[in-house]
């Protein structure tokens, strides 16, 4: 019941938020906060009670908790949830950012508070479903289900800088991009199921059944289906040719929507690639790996350059996300345990870091009424707490040692170097650009000539505690990532072994009981 509860709690909580709106605007906020805290608590409990590194080294699947109910037996569709280390990391991230997203909209959202929180919680419920589903149909349901609430978040509660039409346009663009990607993926899923059905006579959408389907089909078909999955996830990640919804969506989304999008929604794509694309189509993925990594490198530079020229602070952060997702892509396709382990940390770190930055951007907007960095400048003197925090997150963004971002990027680059040295060297060079855009972010906002000497209202205790808690977590992971590495090791070993079995011979001293960490 635990896993269904993880999804049902935000779903029901959302309904309660909507219904309780008439009792006052505060009620839905508290309900939402309690709901997300509960989700986080369940996640932590799953972490503490499960043993996510028990099969380390064998490369087997390690579901700590599994649930299955019959749903549409006619189509071989079941409600099937399972959690392993990778899912757990994502669930923890969702729970944490969920709490933060509710917290940061406390003052920002003042109209239709109940409906806002309903949409927020429902999108999070969808995301949790994506992370837990072990049935492809169920996965697809959640994959699509999380879009609609996000659409409403952007279209109805988005930025008031422009008129409503701009918001609606951004939201629609987001929706159409991801929906078309989703449908292409649906073709892939169905083709997989049909191939399996034709070979075995059993119609089934179960993850573990479909894992072996790639042995039943021709190389060409495998490649095409892999592309279907890849495109579906690439749109969401996003990878450069299909990324253009992201900056628009971020620019128009409310703060909580941005946190939700950058912190969690983008991660569903990384998760999907790891969980489905690689294990379903190992051969085709290897064939495709170089192309994918080149796309990744291109994205890293493209995102970084465009981030540099932005004047809108939220668009800047959005483009840095594109850049970071390039790293994620390289990590996914270089496929050794080191990069995969780094990936888990990188996704978590990016979620927390981008979340923190979007919250700070939102707070700046609340106080200044603009997100245009040309109208900022000299803010260091006008706040007490905000500038150092912004500086910390900007530093984390560029991956300074001591933050989780560093661990993630370092592991990814270290692992990838063994596989694709040239690409890795080019990607490493981009860290300079990361330094540039992070510094320009600080420079344009905090330093320079202030537009006025007047002090601005500083962060409240609520705002400080939100941002500081994110910062602390980044630091803790940055200094002591081992517990996290232990959580993801089994899941990552499984992915690594299905994807590139040849690489097993090289023991990697990274996490897990079987491979003690070098001191």
């Amino acid at each position: 019941m635990t896993l269904s509860a993880l999804i049902l709690i935000p779903f029901i909580g959302g309904l309660l938020c909507w219904l309780s709106e008439r009792l006052g605007a505060g009620v839905p906020r508290w309900i939402a906060l309690i709901t997300m805290s509960l989700v986080l608590a369940i996640g932590v409990n799953l972490w503490l009670t499960g043993d996510y590194s028990s099969v380390a080294g064998t490369g087997g699947l390690n579901w700590q908790v599994e649930e299955q109910y019959s749903w549409i037996p006619l189509l071989g569709v079941n409600i099937h949830f399972g959690i392993d280390g990778l899912s757990l990391v994502m669930v923890l991230l969702t729970g944490l950012l969920g709490v933060v997203a509710v917290g940061c909209s406390w003052k920002e959202i003042n109209k239709n508070v109940g409906a806002f929180h309903m949409n927020l919680l429902w999108s999070l419920a969808g995301v949790l479903g994506v992370f837990l589903a072990l049935d492809m149909m169920l996965f697809f349901f959640f994959w699509e289900m999380m879009l609609i609430p996000v659409y409403f978040l952007i279209a109805l509660w988005g930025s008031s800088a422009h008129n409503g039409a701009v918001r609606v346009k951004a939201a629609t663009k987001f929706f159409i991009y991801t929906q078309v990607g989703g449908l292409i993926m649906l073709v892939g899923i169905l083709a997989l199921v049909v191939v399996n059905f034709k070979a075995t006579g059993q119609i089934s959408f179960a993850y573990e059944t479909l894992l072996n389907t790639h042995t039943l089909m021709s190389k060409e078909l495998q490649f095409i289906l892999m592309l279907c999955f890849f495109i579906g996830f690439a749109v969401k990640l996003p990878i450069v040719p299909v990324h253009s919804w992201l900056p628009d969506a971020h620019a128009e989304a409310p703060t909580a929507g941005s946190v939700d999008l950058a912190g969690i929604l983008l991660k569903t794509a990384g998760y999907g690639m790891l969980r489905f694309t690689l294990p379903f189509f190992p051969d085709a993925s290897q064939e495709f790996a170089n192309t994918a990594m080149l796309l990744g490198v291109f994205g890293i530079f493209y995102g970084a350059f465009l981030a540099f020229v932005q004047t809108d602070i939220k668009r800047l952060i959005a483009y840095t996300s594109i850049s970071h997702m390039g790293f994620v892509l390289i990590g996914i396709y270089s496929g050794n345990l080191l990069t995969l382990q780094g990936l888990a940390i990188q996704m978590l770190a990016h979620g927390l870091c981008a979340g923190g930055l979007f919250i700070l951007a939102g707070q700046l907007y609340e106080r200044l009424g603009t997100r245009d960095m040309r109208e900022m400048g000299g803010l260091w003197a006008r706040f007490t707490y905000l500038p150092p925090l912004l500086m910390f997150f900007a530093a984390a963004l560029l991956g300074i040692p001591g933050t989780a971002n560093f661990i993630g990027e370092f592991l990814i680059l270290l692992g990838a170097f063994k596989v694709v040295p040239v690409i890795t060297i080019i990607a490493t060079a981009s860290l300079v650009l990361a330094g540039v855009y992070s510094l320009i972010l600080i420079h344009r906002t905090l330093f320079g000539q202030p537009t006025s000497e007047q002090k601005l209202a500083d962060l409240s205790a609520r705002e400080i505690s939100l941002v500081v808690s994110l910062a602390v977590i980044l630091l803790v992971i940055g200094f002591y990532p081992q517990p996290l590495l232990n959580v993801s090791v089994d899941a990552m070993t499984f992915i690594q072994q299905t994807y590139a079995p040849a690489d097993v011979s090289v023991p990697l001293p990274i996490g897990g009981a079987a491979s003690p960490v070098a001191p």
């Binding site: 549409i72 006619l74 189509l75 697809f140 349901f141 699509e144 609609i148 159409i176 929906q179 449908l183």
Partner: protein
């Protein structure tokens, strides 16, 4: 043939509906009373529905029963009949609220509706060219009257005339096609068609069958035979639009499925690529032209063109018609469309010069009538084929058909069409929550009975989307 009571028993739905039509006519001639006519209509249709179920229409051991040469009743015929009657029943409720405020005679509208329902049921169960034609005409002719019923509105009258001309053209095609087929094969029975075609096949019969199919394309408003659709949908009173979009299309698809099951495979092989092009063009035309519509009825008209294009995929992908996919799609489409037109009907009144058809009428509906707005939101999501709604299950089956038969081009059209479709469905959806609502529509009250029916339909949409197992099982056991 020995005609007895037992022979006609399976035909009870048609007989009941016809009797009801006569009763309504008599009631009107004795004393005009809107309420009485309405309830007779409702009772008649409910009785017809009950008769289908009480005749064990869907029992597993049922065999197809012929009622004379013209009619063949099997599980599918009953399924479509039930859907047709269900649709017309729902339309009756919408019509009542709509026509209440209409200044002229109201009662005849039910009679026309009932006759159209009879036509639909006859059409879906016919197994003979004559039954085919009679059913089609019975279905179409009353609809001219229904479309032009509010003839004080010039658009309504115009739409009626347009529909008349189009239907006449389609009927001409159909009759000529039938004549050609008969000339070559000497049979009008569907059951003999395949054998005779194989025996005497030739260009003439092929040409005839092509003309029959074209006539069906006209009626289904598939591109390039779609030009009448937006005008007729816009001009027709909203509840009649519901009938046009559901019962009428459904009955024609049903007979097309039955007809296509009886032609030879080499003819099918010729027809398939043509129909594939028609499907792709319909998807493209429907979606592209819907993009810019600000009139909800016109938008739904174009969207129905696209939807018929999607549905055609189930009919033509592969070597034979994928009846299960088509049925699932039809079921979900009918329920969703009924709800969509129902929402328009609920806000429209026959006494007004226009229906609530502009998207602007719906701006900020959420703050005036939250239930209807939420219902319409779900309807739009279902039309767009988003999971957890019925529309997704329908589209899922079409996808399944496409993948199983490896029809990649059709699938690509389906994906692109769905992407385009989102744009206009979402636009309507978000307008419902727009606070800058305008005043012109604020004072149109929503008719309560229609709202309740719309809510029930939307509950059905959700149920089909979330837990489709019972419905799918039912459709799979049809034979």
């Amino acid at each position: 043939m020995n005609l007895s009571f037992e022979t006609f028993l399976p035909f009870a739905p048609v007989i009941l509906l016809s009797l009801t039509a006569v009763l309504v006519m008599l009631a009107v001639s004795i004393k005009r009373n809107h309420c009485v006519s309405y309830w007779i209509t409702i009772a008649g249709q409910v009785a017809a529905l009950i008769s289908i179920f009480s005749l064990d229409g869907f029992a597993a051991d049922r065999v197809a029963t012929p009622v004379t040469d013209l009619i063949l009743i099997d599980g599918h015929a009953y399924f479509y009949s039930a859907l047709v009657i269900f649709a017309s029943l729902v339309c009756t409720v919408f019509l009542r609220n709509f026509i209440e405020s209409y200044g002229n005679n109201k009662e005849e509208v039910y009679m026309l509706l009932l006759i159209a329902a009879v036509g639909g049921v006859v059409l879906v169960s016919s197994s003979h060219m004559a039954g085919f034609f009679i059913g089609l005409e019975l279905l179409s002719v009353p609809v001219y009257g229904l479309v032009a019923y509010t003839h004080e509105r010039s658009r309504s009258l115009e739409a009626g005339v347009k529909y008349l001309i189009l239907s006449a053209a389609a009927s001409a095609f159909l009759l000529f096609g039938m004549a050609l087929v008969y000339a070559q094969t000497g049979t009008m029975l569907f059951a003999d068609l395949a054998d005779k075609l194989a025996e005497h096949g030739g260009y003439l019969a092929g040409f005839g069958i092509a003309m029959i199919v074209i006539a069906m394309c006209f009626k289904l408003s598939l591109a390039p035979f779609h030009l009448w659709t937006p005008d007729v949908y816009q001009g027709a009173p909203a509840p009649v639009g519901a009938l046009l979009a559901t019962a009428s299309k459904l009955a024609i698809i049903a007979i097309l499925i039955r007809f296509m099951g009886h032609i030879t495979s080499d003819l099918t092989a010729v027809l398939q690529p043509v129909l594939a092009v028609i499907a792709i063009v319909s998807i493209a035309v429907g979606n592209f032209l819907a993009l810019t519509q600000t009139n909800l009825k016109r938008m739904l008209a174009y969207s129905s063109i696209a939807h018929m294009g999607y549905l055609l995929i189930a009919l033509i992908a592969g070597n034979s018609v994928d009846v299960v996919s088509a049925n699932v799609y039809l079921l979900t489409y009918v329920v969703t469309s009924l709800a969509a037109f129902g929402a328009i009907s609920a806000l429209s009144h026959g006494g007004n010069a226009l229906d609530a058809e502009e998207v602007n009428h719906y701006r900020g509906l959420f703050y005036r009538s939250p239930a209807l707005a939420v219902a319409l939101t779900l309807v739009m999501l279902s039309l767009a084929g988003i999971p957890l709604t019925a529309g997704f299950i329908g589209k899922f089956y079409i996808f399944m058909t496409g993948v199983t038969t490896s029809s990649w081009i059709l699938l690509a059209a389906l994906i692109i069409g769905s992407g385009l479709g989102l744009y206009y469905y979402l636009r309507v959806m978000v307008a419902l929550y727009d606070r800058t609502g305008n005043s012109q529509a604020d004072n149109v009250p929503a008719a309560r009975a229609s709202v309740v029916i719309v809510m029930l339909l939307v509950a059905l949409v959700l149920w089909l989307g979330v837990y489709p197992q019972p419905a799918l099982e039912f459709i799979n056991t049809l034979h």
